[in-house]
């Protein structure tokens, strides 16, 4: 091989290598795109809710209200019968079965929706208003185009009779799509149209808060001690190796620990964000200690010498100079550790955060769900309505992760740029 040939070959090798790289990146981007596309195409419809316009007359006799200022009476009035009787009139029916099919087009919450409206608008007593009531899951999915109509009736969740009602309502302009505020404000529900991840978001928030409050100070103290004060010997080597190993322990093991120790020994309340947060903190600890130690190590020794030389003690040197300089790296490590904790499902399953919780948690001591567990729960559900809710929750989770990771990048750049 002469010189010319050899050079040609070298150029070819270079081009080939670049091509491999481009293929690898394209593949990675393709899969990310696929994920995002799938989640968005499934999930966007969850952000709207189908409503049926129903004319309702708040008849005082039917409601059994004699005094509009009597709070008890207004609260306990029979809104159920009121709405029921007026709604089934909106389409002709010939028997009980058909009557049932009509009322099933409304979500079971209609009496509360009517009640809530009336409590805010007491002046409507005796008047007729056109109320927007939430449609049932099946009706909702039909309107969103997720139910094919051309399959045999026995395999459909809506009968031909109900489809007739839908067509009639559509013609009369009685169907409306509104923004689904329930998705953000409500907790879990057996009815997809009434289910929301509001409880899960708060549960996740409380868990992460508990996790942060426990893991950050402990991890920082451990990292500072190990890096700045501990003697370098076999014991500290062993501790270092074990911290690294701990970061690689499968998260479900921490769940078992939480179950065995926090719930069974300390008898902390089950299914709560407190226990979830402590369990996640155990998992997050090594993941903060490692980057914190790395950033402490990265602080140049000359800074320490400079401080010592003007007569600072070791503690002063560490806390006045070394720790502040290591903060950007430590903070971004912490945020990334918390982002991992936010997406963690397995340990939460074991400590009971997988429970069906309708109530929105008011504190870390209330039973609650969390975002990833909500994804898991809904993905297990059979109803079509939960499919879009699952994807919407994933979108939420991904959104939070993107925000947290950008925050980590921002924190690092902002504080490091200051002096360079």
């Amino acid at each position: 091989m002469n010189k010319e040939q050899r050079r040609k070959k070298r150029y070819q090798a270079e081009k080939r290598f670049q091509a491999y790289g481009i293929v690898a990146i394209s593949l990675a981007l393709f899969f990310v795109g696929l994920l995002v596309f799938k989640v968005f195409s499934d999930g966007t419809s969850a952000f709207s809710r189908t409503m049926i316009k129903v004319p309702i007359t708040f008849d005082a006799d039917k409601l059994g209200i004699t005094n509009i200022n009597d709070k008890d009476e207004v609260e306990n009035a029979d809104y159920f019968t009121l709405v029921y009787e007026q709604f089934i009139k909106s389409y002709p029916y010939s028997n009980d079965k058909e009557e049932k099919q009509i009322i099933k087009l409304l979500s079971p919450d209609y009496e509360f929706e009517a009640k809530n409206y009336f409590l805010k608008n007491k002046d409507k007593l005796g008047k007729t208003v056109s109320l927007l009531l939430t449609a049932s899951d099946d009706f909702d999915q039909l309107h969103k185009g997720n139910f094919p109509r051309n399959i045999p009736e026995e395999r459909r969740r809506l009968s031909n009779y109900q489809l007739g009602i839908y067509d009639q309502f559509l013609k009369e302009g009685k169907i409306e799509k509104i923004f689904n505020n329930y998705l953000f404000s409500k907790g879990d529900s057996r009815d997809p149209e009434l289910a929301g991840f509001g409880g899960a978001i708060l549960g996740s928030f409380f868990s992460i808060l508990v996790c942060l409050l426990i893991s950050f100070p402990i991890a920082l103290a451990a990292a500072v001690y190990l890096e700045e004060f501990a003697p370098k010997n076999k014991l500290t080597d062993l501790i270092e190796i074990n911290i690294n190993n701990l970061a690689a322990v499968p998260s479900i093991v921490f769940g078992l620990l939480g179950l065995g120790v926090l719930l069974n020994v300390f008898e902390l309340p089950r299914s709560t964000a407190l226990v979830g947060g402590i369990t996640l903190a155990l998992m997050t600890l090594p993941r903060i200690i490692i980057p914190a130690r790395a950033s402490l190590k990265a602080v140049p020794p000359s800074i320490r010498e400079g401080a010592l030389a003007v007569g600072a003690s070791r503690v002063q040197t560490v806390f006045h100079h070394v720790v502040p300089l290591a903060m950007p790296g430590t903070l971004s490590g912490t945020i990334i550790g918390l982002a991992q904790a936010l997406g963690e499902t397995a340990p939460l399953l074991l400590i009971g955060m997988v429970a069906f919780v309708v109530e929105i948690p008011g504190s870390p001591l209330d039973p609650s769900a969390s975002l990833p567990v909500q994804v898991y729960l809904w993905s297990e559900s059979a109803e079509r309505g939960f499919v879009e809710k699952t994807s919407a929750t994933i979108m939420m989770l991904l959104g939070f992760l993107i925000v947290m990771n950008s925050l980590a990048v921002y924190a690092r750049q902002k504080f490091e740029r200051k002096w360079n």
Binding site: P231, K232, P300, S302, I303, R304, E305, G306, A307, L308, A309, V310, G311, A312, S313, Q316, H320, H321, L325, K418, W419, N420
Partner: protein
């Protein structure tokens, strides 16, 4: 080694041996450093001159494997006594390093840090005064007086080193140790620092480690020559450079080795 009667020894080292693990870095170093003089320590790389310098303010304490044997007396007190407070010692013995190492804080805070941890300034006015005088004594005031809140790391190399000198003198030490303070600087910055060292010797006792023979000749009154961990010769700078007793010193100074 002749002792002149009008000079008062500030630092006396007696049989100082230093070990890094199993390796011995200094062998029985005995020397005296006089008050208000500049003492230069010269010698080839790895000869132990920096190690000796760091013995004077116990900076070697930070290095875990470093063991020190012998006595270093400052004003007659052995600083390696058990009850010596290292913080107080370093208040008395300041240090300037080879590479300028200002804190990544403002110029003002760089100077103010030492006085603030030792409680030297009672209020902001006093602190401002300390910062100003320290910078003036370090011949940096005129260059930075309008930008005291800018980061010290944004200064040029020579300015950074003068900032470090200002930082060292801000707590009013008695001795200033300088570990090759000009090795990272250009000739102009070096000249400024040398000028500064000359003016500082009226208030401080200065020990400077240097690689540059000419620098030692220019700034110091006394010079010690180290080789392989031993103090080979020590005496008045003029004598060491013109008429050394030891042939090894002669060879090193004339550039035959090192």
């Amino acid at each position: 080694m002749e002792l002149k009667s009008n000079k008062e020894p500030k630092v006396i080292s007696k049989n100082v041996n230093v070990f890094y693990g199993h390796k011995q870095a200094l062998f029985d170093v005995n020397l005296e450093i006089f008050k208000n003089e500049v003492t230069a320590l010269i010698g080839p790389s790895g000869c132990g001159k920096s190690t000796f310098l760091r013995c004077i303010n116990r900076m070697n304490d930070v290095i875990e494997i470093c063991k020190i044997d012998g006595e270093v007396e400052i004003d007659g007190f052995n600083i390696y006594n058990k009850d010596v407070d290292v913080v107080r010692l370093r208040e008395k013995v300041g240090m300037v390093f080879q590479k300028p190492n200002p804190f990544p804080k403002s110029i003002y805070d760089n100077i103010a840090y030492g006085p603030s941890i030792h409680g030297i300034a009672k209020n902001k006015v006093e602190m401002d005064e300390i910062v100003e005088t320290s910078l003036k004594r370090a011949a940096l005031w005129n260059e930075v007086k309008d930008r005291l809140d800018e980061p010290g790391t944004g200064l040029s190399g020579g300015q950074q080193q003068r900032l470090c000198i200002a930082r060292a003198i801000s707590i009013n030490p008695e001795i200033i140790l300088m570990d090759e303070p000009c090795s990272a600087l250009d000739p102009i910055a070096t000249a400024k620092i040398e000028e500064l060292i000359d003016s500082l010797k009226t208030s401080f006792t200065i020990v400077i480690v240097t690689h540059s023979m000419s620098q030692a000749a220019r700034v110091s009154q006394r010079t010690g020559f180290f080789h392989l961990g031993k103090l080979i010769e020590m005496g008045d700078t003029e004598k060491i450079f013109k008429n050394p007793n030891n042939t090894m010193t002669q060879d090193y100074i004339t550039g035959r080795f090192g």
